[in-house]
């Protein structure tokens, strides 16, 4: 049985049906890409899964545990972790303290009132280990907010990894990255393959096709198709609503240019 399953998930914003009876399943160790036009409901789906939003209908199951109705933080304890489409870190703190904050959540409770945290070596070592794993060791003591965009994105992912989850939700990790940085992020995600299942949202098709074992296409809140890279590439519907075909559009541009001139 799959690690993670969605059963008939529904979410409405007022009249607008943003998530329309979505059924989805992710296998253990699988990298599952979720693509779809803008506003298809991908981020909303991530929010529903991670517990930021409550679904109007449907169920969320992780490793046989019912997540529906649980608070966001309880879901993390169940092995679900996410990063954000718009980078969300602690910009005023150093990378080290960012990582410590993330790790603390998973090493003992946080209602310990009077013992100083500074002495906690386990946390310090954990932070450095995590930094090493994500290639952040160079910037450990810099203020996160001043770092280049790409590094901040990496930190965002690192924070999510601290939980070492069963399922990791990545919402456009490559957003705003150039080829160089994208490549590094790609390598990082690749390095996670097998150690956890990943639900990856990305508009960078090269990355998606390089990474994904399976791809689901979300359109107007519905899952249009699921399949491996080739099925998706060659699916005419997907091409129409999402991929588009580049050659065609060039012709179009030329035509347009002519008629304007």
């Amino acid at each position: 049985m799959s690690l993670f399953t969605l059963h008939g998930l529904v979410k409405r914003f007022g009249g607008l049906l943003v998530t329309d009876h979505v059924d989805l399943h992710v296998e253990r160790g699988e990298i599952h890409a979720l693509i779809g036009p803008n506003g298809a409901g991908k981020t909303t789906l991530v929010n529903l899964i991670s517990g930021v939003l409550d679904p109007d209908e449907g169920r969320v199951l992780l490793d046989g545990v019912e997540l529906t109705g649980k608070d966001a933080y309880e879901r993390v304890a169940c092995g679900l972790s996410r990063c954000f489409q718009i980078t969300s870190i602690f910009p005023k703190a150093s990378v080290r303290d960012n990582l410590k904050m993330a790790l603390q959540a998973h090493t003992g409770h946080s209602f310990q009132l009077f013992a100083s945290r500074a002495g906690n070596t386990a946390l310090a070592q954990g932070a450095e280990a995590l930094a090493l794993r994500c290639g952040l060791e160079a910037s450990l003591d810099q203020i996160a907010g001043n770092l280049p965009h790409g590094v901040q994105r990496t930190l965002d992912v690192a924070l999510a990894l601290a939980a070492n989850p069963k399922l990791l939700l990545l919402d456009e990790p490559m957003a705003g990255m150039g080829p160089h940085e994208s490549a590094r992020m790609l390598a990082l995600i690749e390095s996670l393959r097998g150690s956890m299942a990943i639900l990856l949202i990305e508009h960078d098709m090269d990355a998606v096709f390089a990474l994904a074992d399976r791809i689901s296409v979300l359109v107007y809140g519905k899952v249009l198709v699921s399949g491996n890279a080739d099925t998706i590439k060659n699916d005419p519907q997907v091409q129409a609503v999402y991929l588009g075909d580049e050659a065609g559009s060039d012709a179009a541009i030329a035509a347009l240019a002519r008629e304007v001139a």
């Binding site: 489409q85 705003g176 990255m177 508009h203 559009s249």
Partner: protein, 239 residues
């Protein structure tokens, strides 16, 4: 239709953030009707250059002229009213304005075009925005926010349009639309400065390419020249 005198010309611009200097004398010229692409790896100073042009960041040295007038040191809003509109890195849509308000609040015709961009034309370009007309800025998907940022810039009918990673987070089809739209604009004589990671598309679009490396202009030339010289790609663009 390239004008004799540059619409925008920047000479020896130096700028940075507090102690850390980022730009070490950038020269840049954009002629009316041209589309110029600003290229370079992450952190090379593309956005910083743009921030300096728009007056957000004070130039430590050098001068920027726009339409023959010196704009270094003048206020951000004044420069904007002179006809520079920007789609900034990271969208910056207003969380507390509706989609419609974004598109009417700043509407203007700063380049005095006949068929100016108005609500209808922007909605035609991005039907998605029409569907979300009454959503607040923070109730939009990432891509929708990007579309809105572009529409917002167009609504002022700028003399110079600046796009900093404007296809960021957009689905391939929409991205294509943007390229088409930019081509359309170019054809209609819109002067544009564009930063984007999809160099291949820029080749088709831009008249001139300027490559930044560590805050200096490392190379500039036509699409043909850039396409020809693959070494540039590996050294400066990291592809």
């Amino acid at each position: 239709m390239i004008g004799s005198e540059a619409l925008l010309s920047a000479r020896g611009i130096e700028a940075g953030y507090g102690a850390s200097k980022v730009l070490f004398g950038v020269d840049l010229e954009i002629y009316a009707g041209q589309v110029v692409a600003l290229l370079g790896r992450n952190g090379m100073g593309k956005s910083t250059t743009i921030k300096t042009l728009t007056g957000t960041l004070a130039a430590q040295a050098g001068e920027v002229r726009f339409g023959g007038e010196k704009i270094t040191g003048s206020a951000v809003d004044r420069i904007a009213r002179m006809g520079i509109a920007i789609v900034p890195e990271g969208r910056h849509v207003f969380p507390n304005l509706t989609v419609r308000e974004h598109l009417v609040a700043f509407a203007d015709n700063r380049n005095g075009q006949r068929d100016a961009w108005d609500l209808e034309r922007i909605y035609d370009l991005f039907p998605r925005l029409k569907e979300r007309e009454r959503n607040l800025g923070n109730q939009l998907s990432g891509g929708e926010q990007q579309m809105l940022a572009i529409g917002r810039a167009l609504s002022t009918n700028p003399r110079l349009l600046i796009l900093d990673e404007a296809t960021e987070g957009l689905a391939p089809v929409i991205r294509e639309q943007i390229w088409q739209c930019l081509a359309l604009l170019k054809a209609a004589g819109q002067t544009t400065l564009v930063v984007d990671k999809y160099v291949n598309r820029l080749l088709k679009l831009a008249d001139r390419h300027v490559i930044l490396e560590r805050g200096r202009v490392a190379w500039q030339g036509s699409s043909a020249e850039l396409e020809a010289d693959r070494s540039l790609w590996s050294t400066y663009l990291g592809v």
